[in-house]
Symmetry: C2
Amino acid sequence: MGVTRTPRERWIEQGLQALAAGGPDAVRVEALAKELGVTKGGFYGSFADRDALLQAMLDTWERESTDEVIDRVEREGGDPKTRIQRAGVLTFSGDRLLPIDLAVRDWARRDEAVAERLRRVDNRRMALLRDMIGTFCPDADEVEARSLIAFCVAIGEHFLAADHADRTRAEVLVRAADLLLDRPTRTTAPSSEDRPGHRPGR
Amino acid sequence: MGVTRTPRERWIEQGLQALAAGGPDAVRVEALAKELGVTKGGFYGSFADRDALLQAMLDTWERESTDEVIDRVEREGGDPKTRIQRAGVLTFSGDRLLPIDLAVRDWARRDEAVAERLRRVDNRRMALLRDMIGTFCPDADEVEARSLIAFCVAIGEHFLAADHADRTRAEVLVRAADLLLDRPTRTTAPSSEDRPGHRPGR
């Protein structure tokens, strides 16, 4: 995202923030106008109606979650195991994409069109995982199982309230990634880059 | 649960159904009374107020999700790998506990007391996983990582929209369980008992 946004992009961004915070019902043109400090009338210069905004928001989320992540992972290089981990960090950590992703997942339970789009996004993510895990795992059934597990850990750990006694969640996630990616266990302290899908401050 | 319920139990059960379907805001005394076909006044014979109902609902969910699952798993016996799988099936499949569990998880994001209770429940589940995985895995760090992964798969797979080409989700989950539990891969078709945490019809 550029620093300077068009009015249309500002509505989309504010809409995504509202979605992340309160679900699709929180995406109300009047409330967004107030937050943006503009009049409600300006909205209709950029969008035909609220539904057009919702579509544009989903388009933005889909592009950022797939093409932009994949482009960046390819650009930054590294071996497949490093690239998997980077894709996970880009998608499921940080303050921006993760809360939108979880809100879209919740929305998809009640809206068939959103469910269809989520399926497309998740299928692209699974394809990426399969490709990378397939570089070191020769059994196609096992590649599929490891890809499913990796994806479930990236999402599921945000829903899990359990503690880990004298270990931090980040430490346990590093060991889980070692198992999934068939890596030798490391003994050094994990860096923040090693924390797949961990939201800061949780 | 017995077939015959006290009035108090009927309010709790109806409240849990409302929570599963629409979150805590959907738990409204008037709506529950209508669904139960009784007057709103009867509510106050069983509960001091709505908050008392919410507490009783959470008590019921906690007891069913922990003590009752653990009792049943112990009673039915089997080796640790069978018992883990049975605990997962009892907790995360079927129509009753899973939707309540996901609703409580969502609620916990906005309510500190619910978050505290969820932490207690998840910690008991993690303790069970650790005990059972510890029977065949000698490394404590790896036990923790495998327990986290197993729990994340049980929850996360319900949020995942990805397809698996010519495999069913159930087949991929069986292979994932084989990996997690360090079991030899099976070649026979999976029975429904082998589907950890899979909700029918999804």
